[in-house]
């Protein structure tokens, strides 16, 4: 089983390397992270935190948009594209299960994503450290940002595979992926915001809102990074919004999403006639 998973992951990695996907994803992360680190360096003095702390706060906000987008771009074509090319039919005549195929692709895409995230945030973090100093606490926050961004990516990779299995064509899968991205990182928050304003501090605001926020993997990621470390929370101003939300709820959302959606993608893939 492992041999087949690694065979698929290896081939996919090679393809990602030759398609310049690794290069594009990594340089995108490096550029955006560097830009945010230095454009967002103003509040350090006022808040009494080092530059890396501010940088982590900015990069968290960046990741909420960019990581799901990268993940969906990598995964939307994974099944539908292969069905269209007729490649899935041929591969499935080999003794490889659909689950192995899915996991193989996931492994390779996670490697690409990890490279982009660790290199991007690492380089920006290093630059912030050199320019404005860092502390043990801010370095820990950076590390936490990196691995949680990969977990966030895993959620959206799995969503991408599920969409790719359900869609009739590669272009339909692309459309669905964009829709999902807008829903999760833009519309969801807007909806919650609207409800908050309407509710005006009632039951919804106190009890339901924090849980609903945590239910979205992108928001769970944001909360995990911004309210987790005290100083990052200070730098981001999110400290007040999520009081009363237990950490376990955030963690369940962060790790539950990729696992649950991957299972869903596996079911959807089972129904695909290549």
């Amino acid at each position: 089983m492992m041999r087949r998973i690694f065979a698929i992951a290896g081939a996919e990695l090679r393809i990602a390397l030759r398609n310049r996907w690794i290069l594009i994803a990594t340089s995108l992360m490096v550029l955006f992270s560097l830009a945010l680190t230095f454009s967002g360096s103003a509040p350090t003095g006022a808040l009494g935190v080092d530059l890396l702390t501010v940088s982590v706060a900015s990069m968290t906000t960046l990741s909420v948009y960019l990581v799901p987008l990268l993940a969906l771009l990598m995964s939307f074509d994974a099944i539908a594209g292969e069905v269209e090319r007729g490649a899935l039919a041929l591969v499935l005549t080999y003794p490889v299960s659909r689950g192995e195929l899915l996991v193989g692709k996931l492994v390779s895409h996670l490697v690409v994503l990890s490279l982009a995230v660790f290199l991007g945030f690492g380089i920006a973090g290093l630059a912030a450290w050199l320019a404005g100093g860092a502390s043990g606490e801010s370095l820990a926050a950076l590390l936490r940002l990196c691995w949680s961004a990969v977990v966030l990516g895993a959620s959206f990779l799995a969503i991408g595979y599920a969409l790719s299995s359900v869609a009739r064509s590669s272009s339909a899968a692309a459309g669905l992926a964009i829709g999902v991205w807008i829903l999760f990182v833009v519309l969801y928050d807007l909806g919650l915001l609207g409800a908050l304003v309407y509710d005006g501090g009632g039951f919804f605001t106190r009890k339901l809102f924090p849980l609903l926020l945590a239910a979205n993997p992108a928001d769970a990621f944001r909360i995990f990074n911004l309210s987790g470390a005290g100083k990052v929370a200070l730098a981001s101003g999110l400290a007040g919004a999520t009081t009363g939300l237990p950490t376990w709820a955030v963690l369940i959302s962060m790790f539950g999403w990729p696992l649950a959606v991957l299972a869903l993608a596996r079911l959807a893939l089972k129904r695909v006639e290549p």
Partner: protein, 306 residues
Amino acid sequence: MAAAAESKGDMLDVRNVVKRQGTRETVKDVSLSLRAGERLALLGHNGAGKTTLIRMILGLTRIDGGSISVFGNRPGDGKARRITSYLPESVVFHKSLSGLEQLALFARLAGQPVDECMPLLERVGLSDAAHRRVGTYSKGMRQRLGLAQVLLGRPRLALLDEPTSGLDPISRHDFYGIVDDMAAQGTAVLVSSHALTELEARTDRIAILRAGRLVAMDSLENLRRRAGLPIQIRVKAAEGHAAEVAGSLGGNRMNGCRVELSCLADQKMARLKAITALGDAVADVDVVPPSLEDLYRYYAAGEAGS
């Protein structure tokens, strides 16, 4: 007919298989079997159900009636997949991988040693292009790469869907050479095609699908006999004897010295006797059996009174 699937050596046994797409039956009550080492040509126009039948045998698409057994295994289960190989009609490999890398991926998925790959690429004439990306390959080269993956691990059943459609005549010839070698090693080979050519005719049996129904399955000789298509006899009269020859034999006088006759197979000898009886008035005789094209058209167009 001797096609009944009684013998134990059947690699493939398809019985009364039905496939529905919506309310339409695209494969209707098809039965066929294939023994180890046998070559079967599956002929039919586009849309006759060849690809659907192959996909059902591979377990890629559901069977709506009847049953298929691949050496005693259900189509698409682990054992069946291990002993079956497949060449799709249009092979679209990933552009960014080299031919060797693509084949090595298949070898790993099949549980075969990767060092089997290079000799296979040599076998199909791709050794020079082994390290080039598939994106730079011509259609014929991609088809050869597809054939190389069919040969991986010596399958016991090979299903080749329109394998020669993009190949030039010489490549076709090489291709059927490889098919013969596979059959000689005991692989049961099913080759689908939309035309009956000299090469397809070299297979052991020919099955013809029309609108989802199997209208004929037999050896070429028997198909010829059953079709009862007329034989053409072309007689060349000696100088000045054309009128005499045409008059005594009947038939159409084509030009100054040629007469064309047609007759059924069982009248052939009688006709030839009549011709030789004319002695020196006849300069030459050609006997032309019904062409493969005629035969194919006969069965595929539904003139067979079934």
